[in-house]
């Protein structure tokens, strides 16, 4: 389980092939009706793709990424990539941060300066040793070539990673799949967990016999989620049932990949429909380039299949006793509902509950300062 330094370095031939493919895109017609009403808008995407092929500077992004200490480690027969950013001036509170889909470790990088050197950024609180891995099958992490890679599997993997880094007790945080993984770490390894910090609620609590009746706010939340599912859930339906079928086009067409991922960043961020007003173009293209050059869109969407068919079922005894903070970033453009605190309390010992005024699904990139402050205050209260 040797830990080796890792540097992002993409072969020139891969980048030139990407540019050729973008220039050779066979564009579909534009959809009738309002822009974006049937999915990613043609004109918007064409602009983005032009920029991707003609102006986007991947090498500059690579250099920027190279400034971070990155490593790879083999655990359970697969290579796992991670960023390890230690607190400035000595040991900080160890904190593992896990991204979700369709994202990558880069979503969490805006937190690195804020949490490793909080004082310098006017953040009142402790400094952290950050470990930011790439989920198995995302970016530079491999995914086991078998079924059943679910939250629980990743939680165990991350525990081994933290043990290798000689962290006995640590915090865990994340959103989307990352929130699921953090939850399972707390359920399965509570003795190692100082506390968990979530930016959204990935897992539904146990609602079977013996559970408390739903409150009006919980009913409203479920109602909104159901409506969201009907209009927005197609990606999840396909990714959890036929991910391989979808993979052929997304791995073969940069435009297909970009449309698929950008639609989610627009719907799920607090962008009021103007994605680039919220998420810088270079960031978006760094993310897309990561998916493209590593050829990992198909392995990443297997998460939906595996967590559905080989997943975990939460029972009445499943309760996260570790202190839990929830920073509730619910201002998604496509509103998915506002979970009330009592919903979270079914599964977690909620010690901190922060409704955030701004920010959607990708909080570390959208609202890094608000998130960093919330993390710092929470872990300060636990030490």
């Amino acid at each position: 389980m040797r830990i080796e330094p890792f540097k992002v370095a993409v072969a020139e031939q891969v980048l030139s092939d990407l540019k050729t493919r973008i220039r050779n895109t066979r564009w579909p017609d534009s959809a009738p009706g309002a822009p974006w009403s049937q999915g990613t808008d043609l004109e918007w995407l064409r602009n983005l793709m032009d920029y991707w092929a003609e102006e986007f500077d991947w090498r500059a992004q690579e250099q920027r990424l190279g400034e971070l200490a990155q490593f790879s480690i083999e655990i359970d027969g697969i290579r796992i990539h991670f960023v390890h950013a230690r607190a400035r001036g000595g040991r900080g509170i160890p904190l593992l941060l896990t991204h979700g889909w369709p994202s990558a470790f880069v979503e969490y990088l805006p937190l690195v300066p804020l949490l490793t050197d909080p004082a310098r950024h006017g953040i009142d609180g402790p400094a952290f040793d950050l470990v930011i891995p790439s989920l198995p099958g995302y970016g530079f992490s491999e995914r086991p070539r078998r079924a059943g890679v679910n939250y629980r599997y990743v939680a165990a993997l991350w525990h081994r990673l933290m043990t290798e880094l000689e962290y006995k007790r640590y915090g865990s945080g994340g959103g989307d799949f990352g929130a699921g993984v953090a939850t399972l770490m707390a359920l399965d390894r509570s003795d190692s967990i100082i506390g968990i910090h979530l930016t959204n609620l990935e897992l539904a609590p146990y609602l079977g016999p013996g559970s408390r009746a739903l409150s009006p706010a919980e009913k409203a939340y479920i109602g909104t989620s159901d409506l969201w599912w009907q209009s927005e859930g197609g990606y999840k339906a396909i990714q959890s049932t036929r991910p391989q079928t979808l993979g052929y086009s997304l791995n073969d067409s940069p435009a297909g990949l970009a449309a698929w991922i950008a639609e989610k960043w627009r719907s799920w961020s607090d962008c009021h429909g103007d994605l680039e007003g919220r998420i810088p173009r270079d960031f978006l293209l760094t993310l897309l380039t990561l998916y493209w050059v590593t050829g990992t869109i198909t392995s990443s969407i297997r998460d939906y299949f595996d967590n559905r068919w080989h997943g975990i079922t939460l029972g009445p005894e499943d309760f996260v006793r570790s202190p839990t903070a929830i920073a509730n970033f619910t201002s998604q453009f496509a509103f998915e509902g506002d979970p009330p605190r009592e919903w979270a309390e079914r599964l977690y010992s909620v010690q901190r509950w922060t409704p955030m005024e701004r920010g959607g699904h990708f909080a570390p990139t959208e609202e890094p300062v608000a998130l960093a402050r919330d993390i710092a205050v929470f872990f300060a209260s636990l030490s």
């Binding site: 564009w27 009706g33 999915g39 079924a147 297909g256 970009a258 639609e263």
Partner: protein, 387 residues
């Protein structure tokens, strides 16, 4: 004043450059990985994809397929600026009746190539020339050689009206209609909206319709079970529908740009919906599968074909009070379809069922899978209505 020519002869186009571009793209395919031994568990198997795409690239002869298709008489009809492609083969018999056959998704007019001659010229196939039909096979708007609609509103209701216009233009006052998948929806709407002009309709799949139910209607156990099964089916197999209904454009970019992506999306449905027990080529030849896929590729109609699901959202086939298909209906129920089989009672709530055949075998694409069974059933049903 000169009347505008709305029907014109049409030759299926062939482009050497487009074939070269397709081969080039196939050569450069960036394959995803696959979990070893997972076969079709996660979707279309990588091994199968590599096999059929190699054949597509190295052996499949699109020019030959176009030549074969060109043996039929092709035309284009223009309705409000929208060009509709169709085949018309006149019946060889004493009194052929006009029959319009409508395909669905992810099929095309190519599904009908085996049954067209059998229906138009029964005597050449050892059947009675009295059973001959004038066969009309259109391509749905946004499919095959029909135009791709640029505006919203080309839903199944509109398509049924275009079909009636077309048949009138061809001089047919009364006609028979047949279809499956979207074709069953369109055929149902022909009968519902133009009963006076329909001799009868024959469906090889039950459209996903909702009958009008009076308050307090009690559904039979079989109907309840069917609806439960249908919901369950949708959970595990309805994602394509969910996606095509809500975000067809997002899907369009990859499928229109990647031939392998397009092939996978379509092949999955032929395997899932054909009566093939998971062995797709037991039912369909590579040439049949690839002709259909190549047609989608060359005409760039996967986006517009998927959009029909989106159009259906605002115009679903939900029967209102008084909606009932009065014209005689014949149903050929093939054992394999995309979801559970609706019980007869459910269909009878909305349709005047005169003929119901439980087929011994065959699936969602019977014109390709079981042409003899389908043709025999069509002859039998409409034979009884000929007077």
């Amino acid at each position: 004043m000169v009347k505008e020519m709305t029907v014109q002869k049409f030759d299926p186009p062939y482009s050497e450059a487009a074939v070269a571009d397709l081969r080039e793209r196939l050569t450069r395919t960036r394959w995803p990985d696959q979990i070893p031994g997972s076969h079709w568990d996660y979707g279309v198997s990588l091994d199968y994809m590599k096999e059929i795409c190699r054949y597509w690239k190295d052996e499949f002869d699109w020019k030959r397929q176009i030549q074969k298709i060109s043996a039929f008489h092709h035309y284009r009809f223009t309705s409000c600026g929208l060009g509709i492609h169709f085949i018309r083969e006149r019946g060889k018999g004493p009194a052929p009746i006009p029959l319009i056959l409508t395909h669905g998704w992810p099929g095309s007019f190519l599904e009908m190539v085996k049954v067209i001659p059998m229906l138009a010229d029964p005597a050449s196939f050892g059947a009675n020339s009295a059973d001959a039909f004038d066969v009309i096979v259109p391509s749905l708007p946004g499919y095959g050689f029909s135009d791709r609609p640029t505006e919203s509103g080309v839903n199944t209701f509109r398509i049924a009206d275009i079909w009636m216009e077309l048949m009138k233009e061809l001089g047919y006052e009364r006609l028979a209609a047949q279809g499956g998948d979207w074709g069953a929806d369109v055929t149902t709407l022909l009968a519902l909206r133009h009963p006076e002009r329909l001799i009868g309709i024959h469906l090889n799949s039950i459209p996903p319709y909702k009958p009008y139910l009076e308050a307090g209607t009690v559904l039979s156990d079989l109907e309840q079970d069917f609806l439960t099964e249908e919901r369950r089916w949708y959970e595990t197999s309805g994602a394509y529908d969910h996606l095509q209904k809500t975000a067809p454009q997002t899907l369009a970019y990859g499928l229109n740009d990647s031939p392998t992506g397009l092939a996978a999306w379509i092949l999955e449905k032929f395997r899932d919906w054909g009566d093939c027990d998971g062995d797709i080529e037991r039912r369909f030849t590579k040439n049949e599968l690839l002709s259909n896929i190549t047609l989608y590729w060359m005409t760039q109609t996967i986006p517009s074909s998927c959009r029909l699901y989106c159009e259906d959202k605002s115009a679903p086939l939900h029967f209102q009070k008084g909606d009932y298909v009065r014209v005689p209906c014949g149903i050929a129920r093939f054992p394999k379809r995309e979801g559970p089989l609706p019980p007869r009672r459910w269909v009878e709530r909305g349709f005047n069922i005169r003929h119901w055949t439980e087929m011994p075998r065959g699936g969602h694409f019977p014109a390709l899978e079981e042409p003899e069974l389908l043709v025999e059933d069509i002859r039998l049903f409409f034979g009884a209505l000929r007077s």
